[in-house]
């Protein structure tokens, strides 16, 4: 076994904590998790059963935690984790898993498969079995500060355009501001309207806010890849900038994985709580509206539905705020059949959208979302994640559907008093 694979095996072993051990000990191989996974239900490929994607980790658990595994280890190396396992499972671990956690919601034994899949990726990252697109996104984040190569110059140019359009100044590096905003680079590059909307809303609500020139990128490719050292470094950039500016809150943008990274994984990655609070933009808007600081002036009667970003809703716990906000601005809001914590992922989460190799599979499983939309017959789809938005737009275009995708924050800005 090469030194790299030996280190990956050690990493896998390190990732088998008490929770993972309890999960594997409980699994009865019933396959119910497969029924919750769009990769399985849309392809019928049994290898896409979420628990099967965890076979490499299960091997390590079995060998180290069970008597049968320990005994068989003396006589045979059959159960040993090998380089071939990483090579064979790379596609299952990265291409056919969005870390969306829908499977975790249906297991009768309560197994949190997404938790295990996230931890398993750490060993794959050490082994070097990571899709090219995700690897380069991480490299760009570490070297340039953003997975899409967005630099401070790009931000400056975008802000200039935003300021021209909305006539408001976007504050940068303002010490003592109450809120610090971070963006996903997809918002900066593809949806600068989001930044404009923030400027309008925050101005209307009289919010004291700022951007940091040192940390503007919210997404964390390290978490998607499973590279914990890189993930820590990316989180530390934001934490250090926020603590230096002395803000009370950091606003996580309309990006699911960014929210998971900074709100839920961040403190654990850096090994300490923050000296500020993380609030998702939808939580903040909901709070401002309830406090009467965000005045809605008009409502849309267009029939529209909501796509719940998995990491914000199911894995993030921001379930009600998007519904409160939509109810305030849209009289024609209708829910999809599976919504909220049981929504179907857009197919691009977990780094899949950055993985070119997975594109055909991603478009194939988008049929699930298409079916959800066809059932409702609405022509407007609201979401709150730039990554979901771009993946949804690609899927809708692929299936030649005439559905408009809009951001919830932007919708709120349009209906401001």
């Amino acid at each position: 076994m090469s030194e790299r694979i030996e280190r990956a095996r050690e990493e896998m072993s390190k990732q088998v904590d008490g929770k993972v051990a309890a999960y594997f000990s409980s699994c009865v191989r019933c396959g119910l998790c497969a029924e919750a996974c769009h990769f399985h239900v849309e392809t019928n490929d049994p290898r896409f059963a979420p628990i099967y994607k965890l076979e490499p980790m299960r091997k390590v658990w079995r060998r180290e935690q069970t008597l049968g595994g320990r005994l068989s280890g003396f006589f045979s190396s059959r159960d040993e984790l090998r380089e071939e396992d990483f090579a064979e499972w790379e596609e299952l671990v990265y291409d056919s898993c969005n870390l969306c956690g829908r499977c975790s919601m249906v297991c009768p034994l309560g197994i949190d498969l997404a938790y295990m899949l996230r931890r398993q990726r750490s060993a794959f990252a050490v082994a070097g079995y990571v899709p090219e697109g995700m690897r380069t996104a991480l490299q760009r984040t570490l070297e340039l500060g953003s997975p899409m190569g967005v630099s401070l110059k790009t931000i400056d140019a975008t802000l200039e355009q935003v300021e021209k359009r909305c006539g408001l100044k976007v504050p940068v590096d303002r010490k003592g501001a109450e809120y610090m905003t971070i963006f996903s680079s997809m918002e900066v590059v593809n949806f600068p309207e989001y930044i404009e909307s923030l400027a309008l809303i925050f101005d209307a609500a009289g919010l004291s806010w700022t951007l940091s020139s040192r940390a503007f990128e919210a997404t964390n490719a390290g978490i998607q890849v499973g590279d914990n050292a890189a993930a820590r470094e990316i989180v530390e950039r934001i934490v250090s900038a926020a603590e230096e500016l002395g803000v009370r809150y950091v606003i996580s943008p309309e990006c699911g994985h960014a929210y998971t990274a900074i709100r839920w994984e961040g403190p654990n990655l850096i090994g300490r709580p923050y000296r500020f609070e993380v609030v998702h933009i939808l939580e903040l808007l909901d709070r401002l509206q309830r406090d009467g600081r965000l005045q809605i002036g008009s409502r849309s009667d267009r029939p529209m539905t909501l796509h719940d970003p998995c990491q914000i809703v199911r894995r993030g716990g921001v379930v009600d705020p998007p519904r409160h906000l939509l109810a305030a601005v849209a009289s024609g809001f209708v829910e999809m059949r599976d919504h909220g914590t049981m929504n179907w992922c857009c197919g691009g989460g977990g780094g899949v959208s950055a993985n070119e190799r997975a594109e055909q599979l991603r478009l194939r499983v988008f049929k699930r979302k298409k079916r959800q939309l066809d059932e409702l017959g609405v022509d407007t789809l609201v979401t709150a994640c730039a990554n979901c938005r771009i993946v949804l737009e690609e899927g809708l275009e692929h299936y030649e559907m005439d559905t408009e995708v809009i951001s919830l924050t932007e919708l709120i800005a349009v209906h401001l008093k």
């Binding site: 088998v16 904590d17 008490g18 929770k19 993972v20 051990a21 309890a22 999960y23 000990s25 409980s26 699994c27 009865v28 191989r29 019933c30 396959g31 119910l32 497969a34 029924e35 919750a36 399985h40 239900v41 019928n44 049994p46 290898r47 059963a49 628990i51 099967y52 935690q65 069970t66 008597l67 049968g68 829908r102 975790s104 919601m105 249906v106 297991c107 009768p108 034994l109 309560g110 197994i111 949190d112 938790y115 709100r263 839920w264 994984e265 961040g266 403190p267 654990n268 090994g271 300490r272 709580p273 609070e277 199911r314 894995r315 993030g316 716990g317 379930v319 599976d338 914590t341 049981m342």
Partner: protein
């Protein structure tokens, strides 16, 4: 002589292996530990753990269609077996004599037969599904089939011994139950105990985030 061995030393040996094995497995899980979550909680973890331990016993609507066979068969088997284990007259007599020192109300004979049939139907359906369905066929290993077979044999021999007219059949049933006890801690049958941990861990983690899992 074999009868005395099955009734005596083998019973105590298998019970000891079962108890120590289960304790060893549970200790192994707890010893591994789980790192404290440093992210500020949005909800109450303990309440979430408790809730999920119970609510995951209920069917989950999103997989009702695709997973109906596993779910129906799972309920039939587990409920039937639970009733048999706790309320069948011969079992209660056995517990009273060997373990607890006291007995409790038992099922009438027809109830015993009904519970057996329900448990058998569930077990057989689960096994057929395991070998016929492409997903469960791929997932299942040798140990899963051994566990199914052992449970089936214990239940089948129990039915044969139901009349309590043949000592040999009673001994066969006890012997197979002892084999099951010996196998139990080293198999997926451990879910009988670990489900509390797995559901609890997930319920707690999700409740911290504000999600009802």
């Amino acid at each position: 002589m074999i009868g005395a061995f099955i009734d005596g030393p083998l019973w105590y040996f298998s019970l000891t292996v079962f108890l120590l094995g289960v304790a060893w497995r549970l200790a192994g899980i707890v010893r591994r530990g789980v790192a404290a979550d440093l992210a500020p909680a949005r909800g109450d973890a303990a309440r979430g753990a408790l809730r999920t331990i119970f609510t995951r016993a209920l069917p989950r609507r999103p997989v009702l269609h695709g997973g109906r066979v596993q779910m129906i068969a799972g309920y039939l088997f587990h409920l039937g077996l639970l009733v048999l284990l706790l309320f069948a007259q011969p079992h209660v007599d056995f517990y009273a004599e060997r373990i607890a020192g006291f007995g409790w109300s038992t099922l009438p004979h027809w109830g015993f037969i009904l519970a057996s049939e329900i448990a058998f139907a569930g077990l057989i359906l689960l096994w057929i599904y395991r070998v016929m369905n492409p997903v469960t066929r791929l997932l299942s290993g040798f140990g899963d089939h051994v566990a199914s077979l052992l449970v089936f044999m214990v239940m089948f021999s129990g039915c044969l011994a139901l009349g309590q007219s043949h000592e040999a059949l009673r001994l066969l049933h006890l012997f197979l139950a002892e084999l099951l006890l010996l196998y139990f801690p080293f198999s997926s049958l451990m879910h009988t105990f670990t489900f509390v941990l797995s559901r609890g861990y997930t319920g707690a983690a999700m409740a911290r985030k504000g999600v009802n899992a």
